[in-house]
Symmetry: C2
Subunit: 525 residues, 2 copies
């Protein structure tokens, strides 16, 4: 596949004429062709104008037609699988196998959303029948269903160049809901972005989607990204990235004349609690599993366990040694780009220099090849509780073990946690019976609780919640992974006194779509 | 019932020691005893601290127990019915019959939410079974359900002293979801607020709810209100009132270190479109119905139709005369308070003086007795489209008729509408067939569409949506009326690899609550 370096504006490909950027091989520093020039504000506006024009057409398409579009995107991405697996590792340092797997995940995700909208029940159709004779006033016929909210701006993630980028979860869920999407590509994998963008564009052409249902723009967050978030025709934003970046978008969106929702996933420490019984019974196997989770993908998953909590005792000392060994023996891996690598070096160096922290397995400070060196730090609960700096995420294959002396200290530590994506508890049945209060606290802190597992590996399914209270995300009421993500881009609309003939099919009397509905308060199909 | 003028802080009653305020009879200007002193910041913090302490207990109570609390509130409010019907009209100018009716509505609403949580299916329980043998990696057991988000601050509305005040829709839906509530009482009906607040407090005691599940504070929006919205333990805000007030709360909430959702319902013009066939067939009856809707409750409903759109022709001229006659003949009614009355006088005076507007039935400028005089203004679509000032809500029994010359002008006007709570279309079957494009546009502008009815009279039911895009509300994704309001105060939480014994009942294998769930993507009970 020959790359052109063009942005995608609806059914057209247009080279920007702003500053140029290149894909860069993180392990060699080598720049890759072609140049990707940033788009101008005019082109940004054109992409949004096309999205706004496409919206009234696209939102009215049946679930079957929109589903066909998503399936066609998946097929085109699969067809580009070899090219992606060739270019991707060069741009990102991620191994080819990861690209093959993430291609599969991305396509499965698109097809899962297709299934949901082809089924149609997701719109939560509700019918309350009229009671013309009700006293003192008649009851009207009222029906409601979810409708798409309008054009969505999607910011790509560097750490999931496929599954959370151009045609990743945010795009898939927005398109599924009936919202056109304008993507801001990530500078860290511009070639992969172009390949996937062209796949989406080709799928849109093939399935007869309206011009503007999808665009993808190159440019910086401060210019193109900010312009998208501030554009009056953009109605929601999806973002995965840093806290600073996410909060900046939240603030821009909240300050608009018409504020809009920003769904930002901004990272998390994903604390792992190893309770005493589990530590005694299987500390060594937990050390092994944990090191695998911490170092997976060079620790560049949102769900990487950046914090481990355990009682200060002999078993934990053994566990610490085993975990340290695993971390030292784990191979350094190329990180996504130099700025992520530099941040990792800086974060681990700060821990090394912190008076309350001991570096059990310190990351190497050598700076060659963008390598992230697995590390392990240890601190005491009283130091952790008193020092906000220790709660900062160090993005990479490092984790901080926090030991506590008392049960009260454990609960205090849990109670003081900010919002995180996940919390994990390793426990025996006896531990679970004894530490119900810890689980109760953790329920209010995260989007997903894991018992005797590891937080990495976020299953794309109906029950998944990849979210959690701020600052893990901008809005703890929703998820960016799994089919419930479709609700982020929808709102309920009520129809009162509508003749059956002009109601949307989902709300018609004879239920032509055969979907689950709530009729006078009862579920019915 | 003897009023004490105290705020309610959990199970205690505490007089504030800030500035005093009194209920005022709007028609006489007479102050009513007792004095209601504003609470201090310390007392505000205490109420929130109690709410935060109550949350872990309250959120774990079964739907049956929380439902019992809501039913007890309804019973206590009904027991205070005579006292409310006596004090209420004096404070608000609303007739006794309205108070009786609104008491019924408020209690029905509480009981409807009780029904929902007693049933339990609202939590959207989802179960995706494990597949330990799946290749290349096992599929974990993942389950999710909605959980309450935490303490909620509720701002009372002046125009619904019962149904959207102390124990109104926001409070009922938040308590139903499992969130403690801190209410800021409205200065326009402090006595009614006290009666209802005491009813809620008594119900909490009677049903053994934790101290802090409910508090109610007197004080201004700028002090007590702002302190509530900025308090770190408040997790969401419900508000019904002016655009300026709502936007101020949105901005405060967005600027917090941890931003929180604000559900503000800020008013709307509720445009009514009378299409040509309907105008010819039954213009006179529409004029009658419309005048009734405009003047209902002195025009002080959020859904009051403040704008009517019709083609410029002979039938519309007749309709205009009939509507003008109805408006002139309608009795002026006492408005809620002097500031609402003054704003109405100012708003109608501005229309009277507007060069592009003709006052067909002008509001009286006399200022005695806080009377809102029904009015009718007329303007041309080209003037309306070009002048933002004409789109400003005039809260009261007035409406603005906008006439258009062409179909294109009608569609242009619709396309340029901001977000509104409702839009209504009067149409024959032939009109509906011809104006599908108008309905399509309106679907993107409002929360509820009404055919051949009137927007006032918001049915409390499962399908109701009382919301709509900004600026009608802060967040067009939700509703403040009807059972879907419960979703505003909940978030999904996932449980991965949990042993059955410690799962919430809603997610246990054998479905002990007998609720509807989604199991591996299929609805099941």
């Amino acid at each position: 596949m020959s790359l052109q370096g063009a942005s995608i504006v609806g059914l057209d490909c247009v080279r920007g004429d702003g500053p140029e950027a290149f894909g860069t091989n993180p392990s060699t520093g080598e720049q890759m062709q072609p140049a990707y020039a940033a788009v101008t504000i005019e082109l940004t506006n054109e992409a949004v104008a096309k999205a706004a024009a496409a919206f009234p057409v696209y939102r009215k398409l049946s679930g079957a037609l929109r589903g066909g579009f998503l399936r066609a995107i998946a097929a085109k991405i699969e067809a580009a699988g070899d090219a992606l697996a060739e270019r991707g590792p060069l741009e990102t340092g991620l191994p080819e196998g990861r690209f093959r797997m993430e291609t599969g995940r991305t396509c499965n995700q698109l097809r899962l959303f297709a299934t949901i909208i082809e089924d149609g029940s997701w719109v939560d159709a509700r019918i309350d029948a009229a009671q013309p004779d009700r006293q003192p006033i008649p009851k009207p016929d009222v029906r409601s269903m979810l409708q798409p909210i309008g054009p969505v701006a999607v910011f790509c993630a560097s750490n999931f160049p496929l599954a959370f980028s151009v045609a990743g979860g945010d795009t898939a869920s927005a398109l599924a809901a009936g919202c056109p999407v304008v993507v801001k590509a990530h500078h860290s994998h511009p070639g992969v972005a172009e390949m996937v963008g062209l796949a989406v564009q080709a799928a849109a052409k093939e399935t007869g989607m309206p011009d503007g249902v999808f665009s993808m723009l190159y440019g910086s967050g401060r210019t193109v990204g900010a312009a998208l978030v501030q554009h009056p025709d953009i109605r929601a934003v999806g973002f995965t990235g840093s806290h600073a970046g996410g909060r900046a978008l939240m603030d821009l969106a909240a300050a608009r004349p018409q504020p809009i929702p920003v769904y930002a996933e901004m990272g998390s420490l994903n604390p792992v609690f190893v309770l005493p019984g589990a530590m005694t019974d299987r500390g060594e196997s937990i050390a092994e599993g944990l090191s695998g989770s911490v170092t997976l993908g060079a620790g560049q998953f949102c769900t990487c366990p950046g914090m481990v909590v355990a009682a200060s005792n002999d078993a934990t000392e053994q566990f610490t040694d085993q975990l340290a060994l695993r971390q030292r023996e784990a191979s350094p891996a190329v990180m996504l780009n130099t700025s992520i690598h530099e941040a990792y070096q800086k974060g681990t160096a700060a821990l090394d220099q912190h008076l309350g922290v001991e570096g059990i397995a310190s990351a190497s400070t050598q700076n060659s090849g963008c390598q992230g060196d697995p590390a392990l730090y240890i601190t005491k609960a009283e130091d952790f509780i008193g020092d906000e700096a220790l709660a900062a995420e160090v993005f990479g294959p490092s984790t901080l073990l926090v030991t506590h002396n008392t049960r009260e200290q454990l609960l205090q530590l849990a109670a003081q946690l900010e919002g995180h994506l996940t919390a994990t508890v390793h426990a025996t049945d006896a531990d679970l019976a004894e530490y119900g209060d810890l689980l109760d606290i953790l329920e209010t802190k995260v989007g997903r609780l894991v018992i005797n597992g590891y937080p990495t590996g976020v299953e794309v399914c109906h029950a998944m919640v990849h979210g959690g209270p701020y600052p893990a995300t901008s809005d703890g009421r929703s998820t960016s992974v799994g089919t419930q993500a479709i609700f982020r881009f929808a709102r309920a609309l009520a129809y009162q006194g509508y003749p059956d003939a002009i109601l949307p099919d989902a709300l018609k009397n004879d239920n032509p779509l055969g979907i689950w509905r709530m009729v006078d308060g009862e579920r019915a199909k």
